[in-house]
Amino acid sequence: MKNIVLDIDNLVVGLGKNPSGQRIIDGVSLQVREGETLCVVGESGSGKSVTSLTVMGLLQKGALVPSGGSVKLVGEELLTATDKRLRQLRATRMAMIFQEPMTALNPVVPVGRQIDEVLRAHTDLDARARRQKILAMMEHVRLPDVERIFASYPHRLSGGQRQRIMIAMALVLEPKLLIADEPTTALDVTTQKQILTLIRDLQRDHGTAVLFITHDMGVVAEIADRVAVMRYGRLVETGTLDSILRTPTMEYTRNLLSSVPSLVPRAPRAETEEPVVLEANELGKVYRERSFLGKTREVAAAKDVTLTLRKGRTLGIVGESGSGKSTVARCIVRLIDPTSGGVRLAGREISDLSRRLLQPHRKKIQIIFQDPYRSLNPRVTVGETIAEGPINYGMPRAEALAKARDLLELVDLPADAVSRYPHQFSGGQRQRIAIARALALDPDVLVADEAVSALDVSVQAQVLELLDEIQKRLGIALLFITHDLRVAAQICDDVAVMQHGRIVEQGPAAQVLTHPQQAYTKALLDAAPGRGWDFANFRPVEVAAE
């Protein structure tokens, strides 16, 4: 048996210094051994990040306070260690990488110097030796052109490159323990795959113990040796990867796994001859940047995008960040103006209408945005938010508010929610409110722009179900923008795959997602984490196919 690197025993973390205060972490015990990856999974608020920050001693002072239990790093107690000792241990014995590589690096310091800081703080190496060590480490994390990147500022690097810098910074002194807090959540699937492989390889080479925090079962399946499931600050169960995925003992774990959408597309619905409600014809959007001296730089965010959507059907647009999928959605809704091509809404060309002439058509197409925490005005009641649209189109106020109550019931929220404010609702509930708001104008087409991406899987499953039900009931057409192929597989009738502003492949979901014709679609599917598992049925996919 390998040595235990991290030993968390009956850890309790409370809110504030009051010992009787609310417990954010309540009696969690975990062990990570040399060369082992322990995945901590849980939904938001489960306490998985707080656990990792406690280990690092990075909890916000005074706000969250460890009040019981012990955390031992290679036998040394951390909860009672002095600040000075903790500083010595960080980067040398334990290191951490974070979720957002975009914000985790200091924007005003070149990345090489940011790694250098670790060496200056913890070693006596001279400038030249440090530089050589850093360049070697940067090559080790497979960064290209290391001399150039060494002197670059973070904003010059891609998300994947920045995460590699973070990893280089974390591992340059070969710590015993690496804590990775959702390190690939903000990355595209293809980049995610590379980073996961990198962490795996480095771990194998150096025998590092890895505490890997994630909400994504697919990632768990890719990287974990053992899995710990957390909920409400408590440990639900722990076990080997295989035992957790195949034979989860706890109800919560079973539900969590069942909520993971399958990559295998749902049974196709019969083709219909319903009227076409939305058409995009060779739609294009070019951004022009003019510099001071008049040189114009053109960026084509969307090129020759042609789509057709019939009443009652769901069309998915999938692609990685920067592929132009949101640009297309926003052009179609006319939140931004397309630079070429046309959009026909219920047979009427709307791409060249002026703002004023567009007004009567706006109600036919409505949009739901990604982040329900930011898309609702925090100072306006839910009822007012939903009723505002109909009132703008001339509906009497009382009638509009009554309609808002009906809509809230339609999305499974209590009708008396009308008088409350967005902050009084959870993320999933807010997204239901956003859906109710969009439905208030009785649109023909609903555009959902990454509408379930910010939600936990269990909530995501509920919202997807709701959208499906509403579609059946109201016969609405759905344009569904997502980066998540699993979600696309479960809700879309047809799928268009976008890359660099163009549609590279388009067709029925069952066909595109199981027998992709284009290399890019294949690569996307190949990079989808956990593609070997059919989580909901607790078995690998090969078995399911038999």
Partner: protein, 313 residues
């Protein structure tokens, strides 16, 4: 960078042109005969005619403008109506006290306020934070002249450490210069300490919540390193903005301070000129003030590009 600087300087020319036009029209568009305004109520017709000829008021407006601009560019700002001394000479004689106070004030304010703001943000919510914020409220609310008289009472009259008022040029030795400039500087810097400390604290609080500060802590570097190398540098942009605009606003603060400490600076020159309707001096002062504003703005923008590599023009 050099190209950017050049473009910005070129772009400042039209701004100054518009100001010059405004200053020129100020006199011409004031109701009544400019010559009569200039000459005052008791002027004889001969005097009026002389003024008219000397200002070229009989020429077409655009000819007058270009003549005026031409003289301006050669450093001819006209002659004071009250003292008959060339305006340029008047200003150059009185610019030293004002510039001395303005610069020393801004330096003192930065040296005191930035550390205060950083510490207040670092010790957010503690008595240190509350003390600094309390100090800043006092700094904002007590008028400049009150602070000035209190300081004079304590340090000049009671303790007799420094002279009550007056000014000595730095060319006459640093000692006499310093002991006369120290009280006005302290007086005027009060409000800027308050302003800059408050802004530094707010900007630092924002930055201390950022992910990269957490990363810096996770690297195990010292708290001073986290605060100075990572947080302060990122908080600098809004702080520099306030310092810059504050410097421009100093010009009005200087007027009161110069009066309290009886300093022969351009602040008092301006006030005297306005009261006496000494138009050539007023015109020159408006031009000078605008030039300072434009220059400070330019310097702020240049500072941005030096502080934040993401800002490129």
């Amino acid at each position: 960078m050099l190209g950017y600087l050049l473009r910005r300087i070129l772009a400042a020319i039209p701004v100054m042109g518009v100001v010059a036009l405004f200053v020129f029209l100020l006199l011409r568009l004031t109701p009544g005969d400019p010559a009569a305004i200039l000459a005052g109520d008791n002027a004889t017709p001969e005097q009026l005619e002389r003024i008219r000829t000397s200002l070229g008021l009989n020429e077409p407006l655009y000819t007058q403008f270009f003549t005026w601009i031409g003289k301006l560019l050669q450093g001819d700002l006209g002659v004071s109506l009250i003292s008959n001394v060339p305006v340029l000479k008047m200003i150059s004689q009185r610019v030293e006290p004002s510039i001395s106070i303005a610069l020393s004030t801004i330096i003192l304010a930065i040296v005191v306020a930035v550390p205060l703001g950083v510490i207040a943000a670092w010790k957010h919510g503690t008595w240190i934070d509350r003390f600094v914020m309390g100090l800043s409220v006092v700094g904002f609310s007590v008028p400049v002249f009150v602070i000035g008289y209190v300081l004079i009472q304590i340090f000049a009259i009671e303790l007799r450490w420094v002279p009550v008022q007056g000014f000595r040029s730095i060319t006459m030795g640093f000692g006499p210069f310093f002991e006369r400039i120290i009280l006005p500087t302290c007086t005027l810097s009060f409000i800027y300490v308050a302003l800059i400390a408050r802004m530094t604290r707010a900007a630092m609080l924002d930055v201390l919540g950022e992910d990269y500060v957490r990363t810096a802590r996770a690297k195990g570097i010292s708290e001073t390193g986290v605060l100075l190398r990572h947080a302060l540098r990122n908080a600098a942009v809004p702080v520099i903005t306030v310092i810059g605009t504050g410097f421009a606003l100093l010009i009005s603060g200087v007027v009161v301070t110069e009066s309290v400490f009886n300093l022969p600076g351009i602040g008092r020159l301006t006030v005297d000129a306005v009261l006496a309707r000494d138009y050539p001096v007023i015109q020159a002062m408006i031009l000078l003030t605008s030039l300072i504003y434009v220059t400070v703005n330019l310097l702020i923008d240049v500072a941005y590009t030096l502080l934040d590599p993401r800002i490129r023009y």
